[in-house]
């Protein structure tokens, strides 16, 4: 009975630690996916010159971050309604800081507003900023994600010791 209780407590605290860590893991995954999305988007704009909605739909199918998939889906809905891009594309996205949100909105708002050469340049300039954000997110992930998981396990063990 005690063994089961100990295992349950350790599991619960580890889960809590993982939940806290997943914020950083999701952020890293988001920026990594966004980099890939932007690069392939740039290629499509330069060569296939397909309509924006089709390009976003095509590229979002290969995205591993659920948050980016959600943003892409929101952007496509807005384009379907022929409305300008606004804050609503970030509905349900909770992993971004305010300045990151601003940049994402600006990036998606800038899509489709230039000829292919200038659009590619515009994407490059956003890609440079996203690269910096990815580096920060990656550093934070390395620093905190492991820490929270370890802390979860350790706190779980400590609580078990106290209970015993």
């Amino acid at each position: 009975m005690v063994v089961i209780l100990v295992l349950c407590v350790i599991f619960c605290f580890s889960l809590l630690g993982y939940k806290l860590a997943s914020y950083y893991i999701s952020r890293k995954k988001f920026f990594s996916s966004l980099q890939i999305f932007m690069s392939s988007f740039k290629l499509d704009v330069s060569f296939s010159q397909d309509k924006l909605k089709n390009v976003i739909e095509k590229n979002s199918a290969n995205v591993s971050s659920p948050d980016l998939t959600s943003i892409c889906s929101n952007v496509c809905s807005i384009l379907d309604n022929k409305k300008p891009i606004d804050n609503s594309i970030l509905d349900n996205v909770k992993i971004l800081k305010n300045e990151e949100k601003d940049l994402i909105i600006k990036f998606f708002s800038s899509l489709g507003k230039y000829d292919s050469t200038n659009q590619a340049k515009e994407i490059d300039s956003y890609l440079a900023k996203i690269n910096e954000m990815y580096i920060n997110a990656n550093d934070e992930c390395k620093k905190y994600a492991g820490l929270f998981i370890k802390l979860g396990v350790i706190v779980g063990v400590l609580v078990c010791l106290l209970i015993i």
Binding site: K51, L52, G112, K113, Y114, D115, Q119
Partner: protein
């Protein structure tokens, strides 16, 4: 489709207060009153619909122009930049948006147009039986005469051609007709509701030299139809068609036969190539027939 590309305010005004059936043109100029042409007559556009008082007219803003262009391009300027370089964007159903602004050039070639300052939204109309009064004068026992339709811009050349194609089908002349529709205005592109009959093979958004070559090689046409001959290359296409024994129906900007004769492009076309000239004008509104002329420029029909 037209209302989809306008700003919400403009779309509401057109939806509620303007008859789209008679609308032919919308002119939107930065910081200037919006002008609407209904049945060829100009009116200002106000919040209450059409008006004649400039003080009531809606003034176009840069944001309004930008929004219309973005919407017209499906928010994909890069995808329609080739059209923008030519000064227009084509929508479905043959609606054409003419664009003016700052031309960006590199190595003497146009890269794009930016800072759009004026838009001219032209709405095509299908006027059934519009060409009927000329039909028997263009058709002969061997098919049709090589025919050139001339008029100033906006006087009904494309409408004439579209209806003539419909009439060929309606009169059951089973000709193989290749339509080189460079700007998608004749047939209206994909999902068009414009009716050009049952015998047309449409090559949309192709340049005339490419379109003529492809159709001559692969479609075995009896008749090639195209809009607005505007360059020596275009004129050479007609000669290629003639050398292949294919008849041509084309149009060209000119206000009269004399004006036509003075054009350098026309002078490049062999003498007597065209056997019929249809002259249209806006004298009594767009689509006024001025006359039909034969290959010797003698008027054979006068209205």
């Amino acid at each position: 489709m037209l209302l989809d590309i306008l700003t919400d305010n403009l779309a509401n005004i057109f939806r509620q207060r303007v008859s789209l059936k008679d609308l032919t043109e919308i002119r939107i100029r930065r910081k200037k009153p919006i002008v609407v042409f209904v049945k060829g007559q100009p009116y200002y556009l106000s919040n209450n619909g059409l008006c004649c008082d400039i003080d009531d007219a809606l003034i176009a803003s840069q944001d309004m122009i930008n929004e219309i262009v973005y919407k017209a391009s499906d928010f994909s300027i890069y995808a329609v930049n080739e059209q923008i370089k030519q000064g227009y964007i084509m929508l479905e159903n043959g609606v054409r948006i003419g664009i003016c602004g700052n031309v960006v050039t590199e190595n003497k070639s146009i890269k794009t147009i930016v800072s759009w300052s004026s838009l001219n939204i032209r709405i095509p109309h299908q006027i059934k039986n519009f060409s009927l009064c000329c039909f028997d004068d263009i058709i002969n026992e061997n098919g049709i005469y090589n025919t050139l339709v001339i008029s100033p811009p906006g006087a009904g050349k494309t409408t004439f051609i579209r209806d003539f194609l419909y009439q060929i089908s309606n009169h059951n002349y089973c000709l193989n007709i290749s339509v080189i529709d460079e700007r998608g205005e004749i047939a209206g592109g994909d999902n068009s509701t414009l009716d050009i009959g049952n015998f047309c093979d449409v090559m949309s958004y192709s340049t005339k030299p490419d379109g003529f070559l492809k159709c001559l090689r692969s479609m075995n046409p009896n008749l090639i139809v195209t809009d607005e001959i505007g360059s020596v290359e275009d004129a050479n296409c007609l000669i290629d068609a003639m050398n292949c024994g294919v008849k041509v129906l084309a149009s060209m900007h000119a206000s009269s036969i004399e004006d036509l004769k003075s054009k350098k492009i026309f002078q490049n076309i062999p003498h007597n190539f065209f056997e019929r000239y249809i002259v249209l004008s806006k004298r009594d509104g767009p689509g006024t027939f001025e006359g039909i002329y034969n290959e010797k420029f003698a008027r054979i029909v006068k209205w």
